[in-house]
Assembly symmetry: C2
Homo-oligomer: 243 residues x 2
């Protein structure tokens, strides 16, 4: 892991860009030098790590005592584009724009996001190895954000101690199957009127998780309308399990 830039924010949070092989990432760490628990933070479907909503959540968590890391998925964000990925993404956009059937949307989604999850999870695990070798990052480790990557990580990565997932109306078939194997404490957050995530499917996914401690939060409004207090609630959820 090689740090390529460093910035100290007004509240003392240290923001460092890094690369790990081909993977570009950002690490936010709290002002205090005591070892901090770690949150891996991913945006649904490979949205870039520099997206303002993710950055705002990461800064809030770092200001509240967590180390937070985000990486760009293969072919997304700051990484070189890949033709197959771009084509699958364009196809999903076309189907959504043309008002495709639920079945057509699901197929296009599967073709775009399924491979992205498969490629992303090993990178997250390699990043986790490198992060936990840094001074000042102690674990335990939480995960926050992209539901499909979080399911695969929670199932395959024993160091994940708690997870917060968002949306989850469309999740690749493999992760819908794996949901039953998720056993870590879970906070599942959805928007009641999320235009891209059918409510019934998201509720069925919540039902499927194998975790004994799982909590659903839902708020009125569309995909990007999550109220800010849910970031605070997420902080309290991680506080119960990581601190």
């Amino acid at each position: 892991m090689r740090f390529t830039s460093e910035q100290r924010l007004d509240d003392g949070v240290l923001v460092r860009e890094f690369t790990l092989g081909e993977i570009p990432g950002t690490l936010w760490t709290p002002a205090a030098s005591a070892p901090a628990p770690l949150i891996l933070m991913a945006h649904n479907n490979g949205l870039p790590k520099g997206e303002p909503r993710l950055v705002a959540r990461a800064r809030y968590c770092a200001a509240h005592g967590y180390a937070v890391a985000a990486i760009d998925a293969p072919g997304r964000g700051d990484r070189p584009r890949c033709a197959a990925d771009e084509q699958a993404r364009a196809e999903l956009r076309r189907v959504m724009r043309d008002g495709g059937s639920a079945g057509e949307i699901e197929e296009a989604f599967e073709a775009f996001v399924g491979p992205l999850v498969d490629k992303s999870v090993p990178e997250w695990r390699a990043t986790l190895d490198a992060l936990l070798a840094l001074p000042g990052i102690a674990g335990p480790v939480g995960y926050s954000g992209w539901t499909a990557v979080g399911i695969r990580l929670a199932v395959t990565e024993p160091r994940i101690a708690a997870a917060g997932f968002f949306a989850g109306g469309y999740v690749p078939r493999a992760q819908r199957e794996e949901a039953r194997q998720v056993t870590v404490p879970l906070l599942f957050l959805l928007q009641w009127d999320d235009e891209g995530n059918p409510r019934r499917r998201a509720l069925d996914l919540f039902d499927a998780f194998g975790s004994r401690e799982k909590t659903l939060h839902a708020n009125l409004g569309g995909h990007t309308g999550t109220p800010w207090f849910e970031v605070e609630d997420g902080d309290r959820f991680f506080g119960r399990h990581l601190k």
Copy 2:
């Protein structure tokens, strides 16, 4: 309003029993003498105000700066029994015990709880008048608990500024209709496997509320299994709207 007993708890909370005409009530007020916002707290379906889970919630809220009041519903708790009410209650218990159909449960529930809501709400409003006339209680006013009474209060009582409802699988027909007229900020809490409250009906009720700001919290487990952190979340919800 006549106070009949007074007790100061270790954390400074003052607990006073009162009567208002025939209505017996309990008032918890914070140690600080500054005027406090008020929470009306009712247990679903007329469970007594002395029930330990309600008392624990009331004490927590009072310790966090709210005046909290609970009253017994007509024929319930410390109040004289009423033959018609007892008969309707016994019938509901019989139907539930004998594994009655959803329709039979609903009819028995309607016959028991419908009249109880109609009789309770005017008493809550009279109690609210008396409470707001006390020194040290300033409003704004929140409501917490019994969904059906809360719906009717939120619709008919303009002083209610925010409401937290629990369960809501079975709610009398009149209140299911009135739900659309509820417009105050809402926190709707349910248990995912509540044996007495069908999940789908509770979710449909959440969907029906007219409030622009409404949040659903659901946790794994049966009716009495709500985790304690939901009491803290309720405190934060009321903090956003009453403080």
